[in-house]
């Protein structure tokens, strides 16, 4: 049973526009959320994270929003650049766990020049 879900397998956005990637989770014990970016033939690279005590975290062009009541988080990329084209994975962790991450299935973002 997939506890972290990314329901959009792919997303295409024009360069300069906003990209919004969505993630839903089912386990209310999750309290730390991360986004990873993955290029072909490489490992996932950590992008940004958010703790459940916050509802927003920003790092440059990347902002993650967390809506705990809806068990939903989103990653906003503004402005989108062609180099952002990659697969993005959402992941979640439990405070009581040993850094055991639960991953979504990923969303392939294509930024069109």
């Amino acid at each position: 049973d997939q506890q972290v879900k990314q329901n959009s397998p792919s997303l295409s956005v024009q360069e300069g526009r906003i990209s919004i990637l969505n993630c839903d989770y089912t386990n209310s014990m999750f309290d730390y959320f991360l986004w990873y970016k993955k290029y072909p033939a490489e490992g996932p690279t950590f992008l940004i994270s958010i703790s459940s005590i916050k509802d927003k975290n920003e790092d440059g062009r990347f902002t993650v929003f967390l809506n705990k009541s809806a068990k939903h988080l989103s990653l906003h990329i503004v402005p989108s650049q062609p180099g952002d084209s990659a697969v993005y994975f959402c992941a979640a962790d439990k405070l009581s766990g040993a850094n055991n991450l639960f991953f979504g299935t990923g969303t392939r973002l294509t930024v069109i020049p």
């Binding site: 730390y32 490489e42 490992g43 405070l95 040993a98 850094n99 639960f102 991953f103 979504g104 299935t105």
Partner: protein
């Protein structure tokens, strides 16, 4: 360069053979992890280790064995490979502190014929 390296990058073997995937990190991170990535599942945790000589099962441990005699190494062994174990395997490490991201290697693509 400091980081996390996996070897081999690609491996083809036959069912019933034993195969070992290597993982080495230079950060002296206490935690190390093994994941497999399959279409439709994202990344799933196989085993993890909190320190040398301490290992524990993840979500999909069956058919795998791990050991951690040294902090920097965390090999994963398939004792008798099956076709269902064809996958891309990722090793990761983290400092183990609360809310610290995991850092991934570039993966091993394993094909079992």
């Amino acid at each position: 360069d400091a980081g996390i390296t996996q070897s081999p990058r690609y491996k083809i073997t036959e069912t019933g053979r034993q195969v070992t995937l290597m993982c080495h990190q230079t950060w002296s991170h206490s935690y190390m992890f093994w994941y497999r990535q399959d279409l439709g599942h994202g990344l799933r945790l196989i085993y993890y280790s909190a320190a040398a000589d301490i290992t524990d099962k993840g979500e999909v441990p069956d058919g795998y064995v791990v050991s951690r005699s040294k902090t920097e190494n965390f090999p994963l062994t398939l004792e008798s490979a099956t076709r269902s174990q064809t996958s891309v395997y990722f090793c990761a490490s983290s400092e183990g502190q609360l809310n610290q991201p995991q850092h991934f290697g570039d993966g091993t693509r394993l094909s079992i014929l």
